[in-house]
Point group: none
DNA sequence: CTGTAAGCGAGACGGTACGTCATGTCTTATT
DNA sequence: AATAAGACATGACGTACCGTCTCGCTTACAG
């Protein structure tokens, strides 16, 4: 790893709602947490966001509604947590070249977004998040940031390989990461979820070309 | 094929649900349609998708629920129609260069997406559309295709200016339009609605550079 | 009937909650009212006050909970109305003597209080009424006053027969009616519902004797 | 049978649920019992029967719900015990004449029934008791019988004074006590709790006259 | 003096009913 | 035939208590 490279740190990627500060009474059942999240994902895939009801999730999980509400104040927060774990499977591998790395991660992302529970959940969460700043923050922490971290990682790998020059300054680097991240995530989501067209290896190749082409014109970037 | 061949045609951009075939009894009030759509946009901006109720829209519009349901079968279709007209203000102007044209349309789109009723509606519609194929079709017809048409227009303008070569074949052209469209729409939406960061002229400049850079490396594209 | 006798007027003894002032929309289903009151009495007899739930009443009546709540704001008011009609069967007959009249009405009252739905309802209503002045007023209007009216009637009959002298003044007459009424109703209820002992013809005879004995000592009464 | 024969014995008038047979572990806190009963009476006066919840009582008493349920199986039994002690204050004094004795005890009873916790509790208990035979038995033991004992006492006092003749036979005596008791208790309760009218010295005088008048016509009684 | 058995506060648990709300349909009378 | 008004069946909502359960901690008697 290059000497001055930014030292990205993966944000925490799990942890149920919040650990109760101290245990006085009966401790919360850990099994219930898992059962609820599983039930949420299952219901989500079957019924979609609109069809998902708290009561149904509770029933599927073999849990009382109260137990559910004790942990998650609303459908939104519940689904964030239930869905967030799906994104844990995304990972940046080092395939030896920037193009290969990008294509791999785009393919991973596309595969993930093709799953019905992800489709139903992701846009719905974004939609709700556009109204509720707290939810938006939670989405960002649990879903978006972990994804962005992949871009940081890929960039660092490319720098250590010498494909990219070192960061000129932190601000510019952050902006570059932002724009690349929004472009990858936004474009893939839009094609799959809005345009409703499949993401093929050929499409990935062409899209990666688009992403990589500025590297031949470094003077224009920024 | 001649350079200017592609003869894009703007799809119909308005028209309330469907004109009743012929009038026997009392004709439908045209004023009601407008009042309903206005009320929908107003309620949408105030309450967001989740807070919007049919009863409330009817009350705001000074109309009975019956009247509302007679015209639009559900909340989804109503909001599509109410929101679609907002997108009519997008238009491709000819500023003399491809970069300027792109920057202008991106800026327009960003401005539109900054309005609260658009924010509330767009992602919510996409979310609902991911479950309901009919709604998806309707969204595509009324909202997505008119936007994609702008890309076609811009491309045609650039070709007529000589900035872009003529279409090699129709399929490739359509694919190029698709990828550019998904990239522009997806990226702008993701930055504004998911990442929650503003779209500034500087960002537009950098993003446009990304879009334009493949043009300097035509051998790599595709 | 004697010339100056007080002219008692039976209070209204039925009428669902309140007639909606004027009918603009769809009128309320009269069948629903009856079905609900029947269902209430049925559920009351089966499950008692504590076991009676609004949801269950609605289901039995084949009616939505909303419909039920639209008419009666709470279990209390509903049961008042459901039970009040049971008391309509009480009536003062003229058997030719004061003793016979009293014994007849006490027997009627005892028979009514032996029915399970009456037992379950009456004390529960009184209990709730001890907290809620509005409910108390309603109970008084719909249940208590119609009973007291029987005492007035019996007194008037006895006066017209000459068994009782005419009223000396209105206040004293009202007080006498009150004390007789509270004694009859309270004693019968206490024996049946609290002491839990049956009311037999012999008991009625002895109790009536108690009620009538002051008539031999008119100088002491008052 | 000799005049003073009847040897009435006052039933036990207190004692928390049941003393655990023998102590192995930590003994139950006696303070908790008192705190719970106090809290119950307090909550009863404030919130009435319907508003009283076990959790609230526990909180007021500074006690865990478990502790409460370990001692009383349900709200009913708890309230019986909490209220029963209120009736301990009733006592038959010897004022030298039957009329004075009756008027005194009626006044005591009326005063007791004027207290809000008594009002809230008494009818509610009777109501619940009309469904639950076990509760009814408990009410009878703890509340009703101690009251009836006062009638026995008063009767015995009058007999020892010579105001009343000796018992003819036990059955008739018991029936007379029953009828007098139901009449006093029922009438006072009905006037206060159902009719909702105050009990004044004048009313007590008139009511006592009613009770005493059969004594002037012994041939009719029975 | 150390088990061990019960009591205790706390609070999570599976339930059940609550009373409210929005949906989309229906019945009126009116236009 | 369309309209405004509003009743209707349905079904989810989020809350409140219920009575039970599991914790970790005192007590107190027993060996």
């Amino acid at each position: 790893m290059a000497p001055t490279t930014q030292q990205p740190v993966a944000p925490d990627q799990a942890a149920p709602p919040a650990t109760p500060p101290r245990g006085k009474g009966r401790p919360r059942s850990a099994a219930a947490d898992l059962a609820i999240l599983d039930a949420t994902r299952e219901a989500l895939a079957e019924l979609g966001w609109g069809g998902l009801t708290m009561g149904d999730v509770a029933t599927r999980a073999g849990v009382a509604k109260t137990t559910l509400y004790r942990r998650w104040p609303s459908k939104n927060e519940l689904v964030v947590d239930a869905v967030a774990s799906l994104f844990d499977e995304l990972e940046m591998v080092d395939l030896g070249s920037l193009r290969a790395d990008i294509e791999a991660v785009v393919a991973q992302f596309a595969t993930l977004l093709a799953r019905p529970e992800t489709q139903a959940a992701l846009l719905a969460l974004f939609a709700e998040g556009s109204r509720d700043p707290q939810l938006r923050r939670r989405i960002r922490e649990r879903i978006v940031e972990p994804q962005k971290y992949l871009v940081q990682q890929g960039r660092a790998q490319a720098q250590s390989r010498g494909e990219l020059g070192p960061d000129l300054d932190e601000v510019t680097a952050a902006e570059e990461i932002d724009i690349i991240f929004d472009t990858i995530a936004g474009t893939v989501e839009h094609r799959l979820l809005v345009s409703g067209r499949p993401i093929t290896p050929a499409w990935i190749h062409r899209f990666t070309t688009l992403l990589l082409s500025p590297l031949g014109h470094p003077q224009e970037a920024g």
